[in-house]
């Protein structure tokens, strides 16, 4: 058979049995022919058969051998047939898709959006949550987290000693303390960098190697050792152009000379934003029982290789119980647990990220539904074509395969386009992501993401392709052929499928809209929280006065001079200073005692937030003085020591009595018994750490009486506050060239920044919900419009029988709304579940917020009414004569 013929008429595939029968037939033919030949040569039939068999040789062996060979041939044939069909299907699919550019464009755009959004979000989830943390055996790298009512999870200097000596399942316990550093290289302006102080074993704990130079050696954290520093790869490349000769060079950090000994690899930094590592050196009394109440250090450790985390967790918990026995008051119910470094870092963004991933998956589902609907309409229109192919011998399986090929091609093209969409989306998204989302900035489209995208694309193609494909070939062939290429009338089954898809779209859209609505409503609630200070027209910036060159007197002088020079600037209404200002991330917390109350054990004392402020600070920030007075310029070192408390402090500690005139002793000095100060006034509360939490009890002392190295400046301006940034910087530079100004932000920006995460999540979900809404509206429109066009004849009859246009329009809209109502009902049920999922992200809004749910209903019903109204208008204008003649 010629090759050309073979291509046209493929031999049917043979089973193993058929192969065996064929071989037997071929060999039998041979023997029979030989026997006949020998008989005609004069042999008896018996002798002839004997000789023929002898001449043939080992018949069974030949059968086996040929059977094996033929099965190989058959398998190869099947493979090549499959590939031929596939190529044929692909070529055919591409021709068909090109012949319908509008359909193809709509489908690919939808899929590209769906797949692109998924790829972008998945790449973030992948790099933040799925990829292992970039340290050897990172799953054994843990933070020891303390839990105690009224305290954060930080540890004390003595925790280091306790857990180093007692925990046998841990190696290399180290503390870490965040700090900001003014870094000065020879003849350059000071630069403010993020730094940490750690024990000398820090890098041994991480098990990483330096990029250049070395890391801290044992003993380099002793007070007597020379000061050394490790810099990050980023700092090294930026400030020292990656020159290895930097090792051994001296820089000044907060005016103290440090020798640079090593460079830490940039992708293996911990904490991630740090650029400078110094050693933690203890003050003589810091490693004693006196410091047990001072909780501010991060405590990290490595669980010994081969030891289970649960074992280590159990052990540190036991130790914390033992510590409580020793210090029952101070460590009441204080427990220690280990949590892996990755969980510690991303633990609180895991859930929101998975919620976003879930939302974007819903978007993809909607996209699938949408394309499935488009395909359904198309397959109905192509029934004539399918009937012709069936008549020419294509089986139903073959047609289904053809349609699935088209679907998968669509989704693959959609995926490739989607990758471009993802790239763009990630650029936009990462640019807007708040700074405090760890690891998000490192997200990129890597191999894993590409593989997942490919799988998602294939699945997508199958999901949206299978329903339309199954509709094929259910049709009566003769009817379809008669209807010809025009396509047949829609059948109830197909219509039901389309309606089901639209209902599903609406349901998913309702779910997404509810989620988005809840987050947006919660976000609005958050923004409407009064921060307690003026946000407009206030500029803020921060400074760090190095201890080496600024003693108390120098600090006071600096503050006086800065105030005077700033007031002289045009556009400045007032200037205030404090060691920390609200929402700048800084905090100081001390225990205190109230004079005149029964003495409590030192470890049982209450604690309060404490700030040091200048006289004009409250006025500049717009914090009202509720009782007594604020800080004044007379509160100088020699004058009586005073303190102003906030309203929350009053309520917490003086709920029934007058606080003014009472004396409290704050435990912030070295003097035992605390720094006794008289309460002279009460100011309004501010949200220091974020808009969600309740204001903390806080005391404000005059900074003149308690000078501080950390200075935050707030300036109230007449015009736009940002315009004063440059003049203020100049003022600071004139005072001290080595002082870098950092964190220059208006108070408005600080508030906005503090809700960055909430804004980020709400924006993402809102975008997804908008896409879902548009897709389902278009889907609804498509179905209604299609039904109207299918029912032109029926509508014509109705008009002829006296139905008015209005009535027809109402009928059509009613159908659209009925579908929507079913979708809303299903979606509402799903929303209850979705609401429960997002409830932990909500602020001041219940997961069953009636306003949100009602709003979503109204939006969807209006959109559905609009989507049905357009085809309804067409239906109302049906001319009965034309409609009925057209039949």
């Amino acid at each position: 058979m010629s090759d050309a013929r073979k291509k046209l008429f493929r031999l049917p595939w043979r089973t193993a049995r058929q192969i065996r029968d064929d071989i037997d037939e071929e060999l039998r033919f041979h023997i029979d022919m030989r026997v006949a030949g020998l008989i005609s040569a004069g042999l008896t039939p018996d002798a002839a058969r004997q000789q023929a068999t002898r001449e043939f040789g080992d018949l069974d062996d030949a059968r086996r051998y040929i059977g094996a060979v033929d099965r190989d041939i058959e398998a190869a044939q099947r493979r090549s047939d499959f590939m031929n069909d596939l190529w044929h299907d692909i070529g055919y699919a591409i021709r068909k898709l090109r012949a319908a550019p509008m359909f193809t464009l709509a489908a690919i755009t939808t899929l590209a959006l769906g797949i692109g959004a998924n790829t972008a979000i998945f790449s973030v989830v992948n790099s933040v949550l799925l990829k292992p943390f970039p340290f050897p055996q990172a799953d054994h790298l843990v933070r020891i987290r303390f839990t105690q009512q009224g305290h954060g999870d930080a540890g004390t200097p003595m925790d280091l000693v306790d857990y180093r000596t007692r925990a046998t399942s841990l190696v290399g316990v180290s503390v870490i303390e965040g700090t900001t550093a003014n870094l000065t290289r020879d003849n350059s302006d000071a630069e403010r960098v993020q730094g940490v102080r750690v024990n000398a074993n820090w890098f041994t704990l991480l098990r990483i190697a330096p990029l250049a130079g070395r890391f801290f050696a044992e003993g380099e954290d002793q007070a007597s050792a020379p000061q050394v520093a490790v810099i990050s790869e980023q700092l090294w490349r930026r400030d020292f152009s990656g020159d290895k000769s930097v090792i051994g060079k001296t820089v000044r950090i907060n005016s103290t000379p440090f020798t640079i000994i090593g460079v830490a690899p940039g992708d293996r930094r911990y904490p991630i934003t740090v650029e400078l590592w110094m050693t933690k050196r203890w003050a003589p009394n810091e490693l004693s029982d006196q410091s047990r109440g001072a909780r501010w250090l991060g405590v990290f450790a490595r669980v010994k290789d081969g030891v289970d985390l649960a074992v280590a967790d159990n052990e540190v918990e036991k130790i914390s119980e033992a510590m409580e026995k020793q210090f029952p008051e101070m460590f009441r119910e204080r427990r220690a647990h280990v949590v892996t470094i990755q969980d510690y870092l991303v633990g609180d963004i895991r859930k929101p990220l998975f919620i976003v991933l879930g939302a974007v998956t819903l978007v993809l589902l909607i996209a699938c539904a949408h394309v499935a609907n488009l395909m359904l309409v198309r397959t109905t229109a192509r029934e004539g074509e399918m009937a012709v192919r069936t008549a020419l011998g294509a089986g139903r399986g073959r047609l289904v395969r053809q349609l699935m090929t088209e679907s998968v091609i669509l989704s693959l093209v959609g995926a490739v386009t989607g990758l471009a969409v993802a790239k763009l989306a990630m650029h936009e998204m990462l640019g807007r992501a708040p700074q405090n989302l760890p690891l998000v900035g490192s997200a990129s489209i890597d191999g894993t993401t590409l593989a997942v995208t490919a799988i998602v694309a294939l699945l997508t193609g199958v999901i949206f392709g299978v329903l339309p494909a199954l509709q094929v070939g259910k049709h009566d062939l003769a009817t379809a052929l008669r209807a010809g290429a025009r396509g047949t009338r829609s059948r109830p089954a197909t219509n039901r499928a389309k309606q089901a898809i639209v209902v599903a779209e609406v349901a998913v859209a309702v779910t997404l809209l509810t989620g988005a609505g809840l987050l947006l409503h919660s976000f609005a609630k958050l923004l409407s929280v009064d921060p307690g200070f003026r946000t407009e027209g206030v500029l803020s910036m921060k400074l760090l006065l190095p201890q080496r060159s600024y003693d108390s007197t120098a600090i006071r002088a600096f503050i006086r001079e800065l105030e005077a020079r700033t007031r002289a600037l045009p556009g400045v209404k007032s200037i205030g200073m404090a060691n920390f200002i609200p929402l700048d991330g800084g905090s100081e917390n001390y225990v205190f005692g109230i004079r005149g109350r029964p003495a409590v054990r030192p470890s049982d004392q209450p604690s309060t937030e404490a700030r040091k402020v200048t006289p004009d600070f409250f006025a500049t920030m717009g914090m009202p003085v509720i009782e007594g007075r604020g800080i004044t310029s007379t509160d100088q070192p020699g004058a009586p020591k005073v303190v102003v408390v906030n309203h929350a402090f009053l309520q917490a500690f003086f709920p029934k009595e007058d606080a003014i005139g009472k004396t409290i002793a704050i435990g912030w000095g070295s003097d035992s018994g605390g720094d006794a100060r008289q309460i002279v006034g009460v100011v309004g509360d501010v949200h220091s750490f974020g808009l969600e939490g309740a204001p903390e009890p806080t005391v404000y002392a005059p900074i003149a009486q308690r000078p501080d190295q950390s200075i935050s400046i707030v300036v109230r301006t007449e015009g736009p506050p940002a315009t004063l940034a440059a003049p203020l910087r100049a003022v600071v530079r004139d005072l001290d060239r080595e002082l870098p100004v950092y964190s220059v932000q208006t108070m408005e920006e600080r508030v906005t920044g503090s809700v960055g995460r909430q804004r980020f999540y709400a924006t993402l979900i809102a975008i997804f919900a908008a896409v879902a809404l548009v897709l389902s509206a278009v889907g609804l429109y498509g179905v209604i419009a299609y039904t109207v066009s299918q029912r032109t004849h029926e509508l014509g009859v109705r008009v002829a029988l006296g139905a008015t246009g209005d009535r027809i329009a109402r009928m059509v809209i009613g159908e659209g709304l009925a579908l929507t109502a079913v979708g809303i009902a299903i979606g509402a049920m799903a929303s209850v579940l979705a609401g429960r999922l997002v409830s932990s992200l909500l602020f001041g809004v219940s997961a069953l917020d009636p306003m949100t749910i009602g709003g979503v209903g109204v939006v969807l019903v209006s959109v559905a009414a609009l989507a049905s109204w357009i085809p309804a208008r067409r239906a109302a204008r049906v001319d009965p004569l034309v409609a009925m003649r057209g039949e």
């Binding site: 058979m1 064929d22 037939e25 071929e26 060999l27 033919f29 030989r34 001449e55 043939f56 060979v69």
Partner: protein, 110 residues
Amino acid sequence: MTAQPMDLLQGTLDVLVLRTLAWGTMHGYAVSRWIHQRTDGVLEIEDAPLYKSLHRLERAGFVSAEWGLSENNRRARYYSLTPAGRRQFATEESAWRRYAEAVFKVLEPT
């Protein structure tokens, strides 16, 4: 036929089959008879290896097979050379000729 039939290497048989089919399409029995007659029975070839060879060559793509009707109206499997088979035969034939010449050069008295 007094002399013992010579042993045939598998590759040799394949060349003979290819040569036979170069004449035209034929079924396995015809191939067997043809080789038998051409060699005057010197190469006493059993039919089993012959059929193995035919199917092996089909798997290699050198021959194609198709069911047809024989001269006595029975279903028979007809083999023909494919273009690839034709090329293969040309290659093997020249190799064989060179081989045989070399052997003769040694055997011939000088």
